[in-house]
């Protein structure tokens, strides 16, 4: 190595060697390097521009390329491989319980106002939960309710139906079916007419079809 260095005082290293040097300098440098700078750093008599031609040719079609940036040179990732520099991790998460319940209420009672959702769930619905469902494009804003304050209503989207494999919201199983499926374990309290609560009943049919939200706010 020191011999190399001494040699270079008198004679420029072979072009192939200069190419190696270029390669190492461009690789390690924190910034693009100009030809003048390269000449300053390489042994006396070197011809960085000549070596650069070789180097560029060598990297043609490779995963990295020698790019000219202004008057300087640097290695750059080949444009077609840029996707390797992005790393997308797809994480599948279960929707939170709050979100599921809110979604279910919207689906079964749509159009539903936030107040209605809260009344049915028995707890406040956080802004984030609604936002998340909106973002997922599973619910969207329906017509404003024609009641004091004109509250916004929420309805489920086509995307929702798609995702859950439903043709329409009416295809959602009713309480009777839920119970039959063992999803409702508790016996209905005495005196409750099941039909009253069944979204499959004619009243609810109306709810789903009727664009006028007034009627379905009883519950």
């Amino acid at each position: 190595m020191s011999e190399n260095k001494e040699d270079s005082l008198f004679e420029a290293p072979p072009l192939a060697e200069q190419e190696r040097m270029l390669e190492a300098i461009l690789f390690a440098s924190a910034e693009p390097v100009s030809l003048a700078e390269l000449a300053g750093r390489m042994p006396h008599g070197s011809s960085p521009s000549e070596a650069m031609v070789l180097l560029q040719k060598r990297y043609e079609g490779r995963g990295v390329q020698v790019a000219k940036i202004g008057q300087a040179y640097a290695f750059r990732t080949a444009a077609d491989l840029a996707f390797l520099m992005r790393r997308e991790t797809v994480e599948t998460r279960k929707l939170s319980r709050a979100a599921i319940e809110t979604l279910a209420i919207v689906a079964y009672h749509q159009p539903a106002t936030r107040a209605e959702i809260e009344e049915i769930r028995g707890v406040a619905v956080s802004r984030g939960t609604i936002d998340q469902l909106l973002e997922l494009d599973w619910i969207r804003l329906g017509r404003r309710r024609q009641t004091p304050g004109r509250p916004v209503t929420f309805i489920v989207t086509e995307h929702f139906l798609d995702h859950f494999g439903l043709e329409s919201a009416r295809d959602l199983p009713g309480l009777k079916e839920l119970r039959a499926a063992g999803l409702l374990e508790n016996r209905p309290p005495p005196g409750t007419k099941e039909e009253e609560r069944d979204p499959g009943d004619p009243d609810q049919d109306e709810l789903f079809e009727d664009e006028d939200p007034q009627e379905e706010s009883e519950e």
Binding site: R87, E88, L103, I120, Q132, L184, R197
Partner: protein, 262 residues
């Protein structure tokens, strides 16, 4: 075991060496380091080092330091005491009755320690002399960070949805116990009601007639009101304000104001 000659002949040279070492006493990293330095004056392979000779050198060093009133750290003195012991073991013929390791064993271990320390120093030097990152070998100067993007997809199945809805509705069905308070007459309410009316109940009157207004039509309310009113009459009877009677099982219960004792 060392023969006495070589140990005596080396004596003067060692003392001289020890004196030069004295000046540098702070430069040693402990007694083992000093012993290793001393062993070099023997100019032999560490495997063949004379531990006896080394012990003598070391003790001479400590003596000299004392003469020069140089304060040696405790571990130097501990080592001196141990080497003095080792020296006596090595010089005296082994006592077969004595317990513990022989002088040779102890000496061999010290030689091993010295050799091992020297070996570590040698490889440390080789290690530091390697082509090191940032000195001879260099990393990429312009790095490109991988942009991490976390895409979170939320999923829910129809079953989740149905279970969620079922959960809410089930919760709802528990609610009557709270909500249906309208259909429940508490004993306090019944008592208040009774107290207001009892003053006028001079004659035996059916308990049912004391049910508050609007509590006798709906069977649910009627049941609750009857039970509460009955419990209230028991309470009032206990207080000694009314009397209760029932002629027969399942026949009507009648109450009246307690008659003043005749």
């Amino acid at each position: 075991m060392q023969d006495a000659d070589s140990f005596v002949s080396g004596d003067v040279a060692e003392r001289v060496a020890a004196e030069t070492l004295i000046v540098d006493v702070d430069g040693f990293e402990g007694p083992l380091d000093l012993l290793l330095t001393l062993s070099r004056t023997q100019k032999v392979d560490l495997r063949k080092v004379s531990v006896l000779q080394l012990a003598v050198q070391y003790l001479a060093f400590v003596e000299k330091a004392k003469e020069l009133r140089i304060e040696l750290a405790a571990d130097y003195l501990v080592m001196a005491a141990w080497l003095a012991f080792l020296k006596s073991r090595l010089l005296l013929p082994p006592d077969p009755t004595e317990e513990g390791p022989t002088g040779e064993e102890l000496a061999a271990h010290l030689a091993f320690q010295l050799e091992r320390l020297q070996a570590m120093r040698d490889v440390a030097a080789r290690l530091m002399g390697r082509d090191r990152l940032g000195r001879e070998r260099f990393v990429r100067g312009i790095t490109q960070d991988v942009t991490h993007r976390k895409v979170i997809t939320y999923t829910a199945t129809l079953l989740d949805l149905m279970q969620g809805y079922a959960r809410i509705r089930t919760k709802d069905e528990f609610r009557p116990f709270v909500m249906d308070r309208e259909a429940v007459l508490t004993m306090e309410q019944a008592l208040d009601n009774l107290r207001g009316m009892i003053g006028f109940a001079g004659d035996w009157t059916d308990l049912i007639s004391y049910l508050p207004d609007g509590w006798s039509a709906d069977p649910k309310k009627r049941r609750s009101a009857t039970a509460a009113t009955f419990a209230a009459t028991l309470e009032l009877a206990k207080e000694g304000r009314i009397e209760l009677r029932q002629d027969d099982t399942f026949s009507k219960i009648e109450i009246r104001k307690r008659q003043p004792d005749v």
